[in-house]
């Protein structure tokens, strides 16, 4: 017998106990510290060592940075101000920032032109990079190269307009005749574009039309600084991407002539160091053109860097093409799509998505490789530092400040590119 009936119980809890806060060491910052920094003896030691290392680095560099002098005419004056204490001479940056950004010969009163072109670059690239934006913005992207050319190099506005009109006319002729024969349409398009381009010669350079929208011309030799790196980087990446895709497709082609031309081109370029190609562009071509004529050095360099990175991009894209299951190709064929349609609608969208990290890798590498032009005496950012600035009697002996600044600028751009590519990969991810 038991008297454990309900009535016999003195107290019955009718509501649940309010949840008490977890123990201090099982939640909040303490748990985070314990889990992430002091998880076991070994990890604790590593954490302490890491903190010591960070402290040592910061305690040695921060006084140098914080104590930096931003206003002094020469290195000697800067050292006088510092008077033996630790500190950086950032004054070289505040005195020569314009040379670092624009080169030493770009006319000072015209800095707004490349600066404006740089600002417009973002507008032009936005619809290409972020495809949720209205498609009509692409019209501006198409116009941008001509605007930027006019802004940076100057000259009458007629030249870029004629170039643009020639391109449009050529394209329209091509579209009109494309149905009859691809090769003929191509030829007719090129001829009609050339006719338009030669118009400027026909008009004669002293005509009044050339004074419309005339900006003072700046020769390529006067370009320099980070502007030159940006120009080379942007131009070469934009040109080498389509060329690289074409090469990758060509390499997969079943037509032996196209295939072997592409294979030989890619393998040759990949077997040659970029610096060799740059020397060819700057030195060897000088022998073959008569003095004073010939192609502009900037264009020669753009061609060489573009060919170089196109070969690498071609291999990356080929990797993407090879990674596609054969079924995709067969599915495209079974839908009755021809080669162009299948490639454009089925194959490339998937292959390029796979290739994004590789392509971005090449783009970042290419951008940094543009500093190599300093060895062929073009004054890009590094060329400016190593040449004119370090060779001036005022600033000979400043290294860390200048190269840190260059590193910072390059880091900002390259980190931006890599962040964009990660966003793009997330945006394109369809395998959820």
């Amino acid at each position: 017998m038991s008297d454990t009936s309900a009535n016999a119980v003195a107290f019955v809890r009718t509501e649940s106990v309010p949840a008490s806060a977890p123990p201090v060491n099982a939640a909040g910052p303490v748990k985070w510290l314990k889990d992430n920094l002091f998880d076991g003896v070994g990890n604790s030691i590593l954490t302490v060592l890491a903190f010591v290392a960070i402290f040592l680095i910061l305690s040695n560099t921060m006084p140098w940075v914080i104590n930096g002098i931003w206003d002094a005419p020469t290195l000697a004056a800067c050292r006088e101000i510092l008077d033996g204490t630790t500190g950086a001479c950032f004054a070289v940056l505040s005195e020569r920032w314009n040379q670092l950004l624009f080169g030493f010969k770009y006319p000072t009163e015209m800095y707004w032109r490349p600066a404006l072109a740089f600002a417009m670059l973002f507008v032009a690239f936005a619809p290409v990079l972020f495809f949720d934006l209205p498609r009509k913005l692409l019209i501006f992207t198409g116009l941008y190269p001509f605007i930027a050319f006019w802004l940076i190099w100057g000259g009458p506005i007629v030249n870029p307009i004629l170039a643009l009109v020639g391109l449009i006319v050529g394209y329209m002729v091509f579209v009109r005749l494309e149905k009859t024969s691809f090769a003929m349409a191509m030829g007719a398009g090129v001829v009609s574009a050339a006719v338009i381009w030669s118009l400027s010669k026909v008009i004669g350079s002293d005509s009044a039309i050339f004074s419309i929208g005339y900006l003072e011309t700046v020769p390529s030799r006067d370009l320099g600084g980070f502007m030159l790196n940006m120009m080379l980087g942007v131009t070469c990446v934009s040109l080498s991407l389509p060329l690289g895709i074409a090469l990758a497709l060509g390499r997969q082609s079943s037509m032996p002539l196209i295939k072997y031309v592409c294979v030989i081109f890619i393998e040759f370029i990949r077997g040659v160091p970029l610096i060799t190609l740059l020397f060819v562009a700057s030195v060897m071509l000088g022998y073959f053109f008569p003095p004073g004529s010939g192609v502009d050095l900037f264009i020669r360099v753009v061609i060489m860097i573009t060919l170089f990175s196109a070969a690498y991009i071609a291999e990356v894209v080929r990797g993407g093409l090879a990674a596609l299951p054969k079924g995709q190709y067969e599915a495209a064929d079974s839908l009755g799509l021809d080669y162009a349609q299948a490639t454009r609608l089925i194959i490339l969208p998937q292959a390029l998505k796979i290739s994004i990290p590789g392509i971005v890798n090449i783009a970042v590498g290419l951008f940094k490789d543009t500093t190599l032009v300093s060895v062929i005496s073009m004054f890009d950012m590094v060329g400016m530092i190593r040449g004119p600035i370090l060779a001036s009697t005022d600033w000979n002996g400043v290294y860390w400040e200048l190269f840190s600044f260059a590193a910072l600028l390059f880091f900002v751009v390259c980190y931006g590119i890599s962040q964009y590519s990660q966003w793009l990969e997330r945006r394109l991810a369809t395998d959820h």
């Binding site: 005195e95 003095p291 060895v375 190593r386 060779a391 001036s392």
Partner: protein
């Protein structure tokens, strides 16, 4: 093999084509600008200043030639060249002359087919050591560690010097002058060796230059001067005599300050011939009578150019030494203007 023959043939053909074209003087006059090769930057010798204006000892030679030929010291297109591109730029005709601290050697003169028109700076390899090391002569450097740029003639000169004096050393190979400065200051080597003018310029950038001494020994000959292509002697003469005009002007006491006064005519016939008030020297060169006057007017005579760019009043602080006039015991000597 076939390819190199082909390229060689093309090079020769293009050189021949360049030589067959009109003379360099006519080209320069038609262009209205002198294309002058300089370094991409060497302290005191050639570097653009904060306003992008080229300044320096070699630059002054370019400007003087431009003034002699075109009457305007600013009618120069400075073409920056590196040590690797300088000779091809000159050979291919991209530049009309090269004034880029280039050492006059037999192989450059004969094999590369250039004409060195003179010497505007007599350099030589020297040594720099910290004062606290207490050495007074390079011969005391037995067993020292030496910072040395690899692949240069300085490396060979150094070996020769130590062997000839029967002492030993330990080389610390480094790649660039900037690296050498850092290594030397960090104490990685006892001594740093390179051209004496470079040593002086380097020392000028140190925080405490007075703690370092340049040793008196100069162990090699590095005559630096402007050069032109083989095949156009008239042009070579113009560059040679423009340089000589600057040198003669110093010898005769013609400075930028008294130039106007002197060019009105003096009692010294050589000054008169130089400045074109007597004789037809300019005409013989194919230039105007006032060619030397114009050249000197740009930045003064040789001595003034030296003082303004690398002399003792500048941070580089080079003494005239070998580069004093022959009348002062130096090697700077111009043939007579007659």
């Amino acid at each position: 093999m076939n390819k190199s023959v082909l390229f060689g043939a093309m090079t020769v053909a293009s050189l021949a084509a360049g030589a067959a074209a009109a003379g360099t003087l006519e080209d320069v006059q038609a262009r209205g600008k002198l294309n002058c090769g300089v370094t991409t930057g060497l302290v005191g010798f050639a570097a653009p200043d904060a306003n992008g204006e080229w300044k320096g000892f070699d630059v002054a030679v370019c400007r003087a030639v431009a003034a002699a030929v075109l009457g305007d010291g600013n009618a120069v297109e400075f073409v920056p060249t590196t040590g690797k591109t300088r000779f091809t730029a000159l050979a291919s005709g991209e530049i009309d002359m090269l004034a880029r601290n280039t050492t006059w050697t037999l192989s450059r003169d004969v094999d590369l087919k250039f004409t060195f028109v003179g010497v505007n700076y007599y350099d030589g390899q020297g040594f720099m050591a910290p004062k606290e090391l207490g050495v007074a002569s390079a011969k005391d450097l037995d067993g020292a560690t030496v910072c040395i740029q690899t692949g240069t003639t300085t490396e060979l000169n150094l070996a020769d010097f130590f062997r000839a004096n029967n002492i030993s050393y330990e080389p610390v190979p480094i790649e660039t002058n900037a690296e050498a400065q850092q290594q030397y200051l960090a104490g990685a080597c006892d001594v740093f060796t390179t051209d004496a003018s470079g040593l002086a310029a380097t020392r000028a950038t140190f925080e405490n230059p007075q703690d370092h001494v340049l040793l008196p020994e100069i162990v090699s000959k590095e005559p630096l001067g402007p050069l032109v292509r083989h095949g156009d002697n008239e042009w070579g003469d113009i560059v040679r005599w423009t340089l000589n005009a600057l040198i003669t002007a110093e010898e005769l006491g013609v400075t930028s300050a008294n130039l106007a006064e002197m060019s009105a005519g003096t009692n010294n016939p050589e000054i008169n011939r130089l400045l074109g008030t007597e004789g037809t020297l300019g005409e013989m060169l194919g230039l105007s009578a006032t060619w030397a006057n114009d050249a000197i007017a740009v930045s003064g005579n040789y001595g003034e150019v030296f003082e303004a760019n690398i002399g003792e009043s500048t941070p580089i602080g080079l003494a005239r030494g070998l580069n004093a006039q022959w009348t002062d015991g130096g090697l700077i000597y111009s043939p007579p203007f007659r």
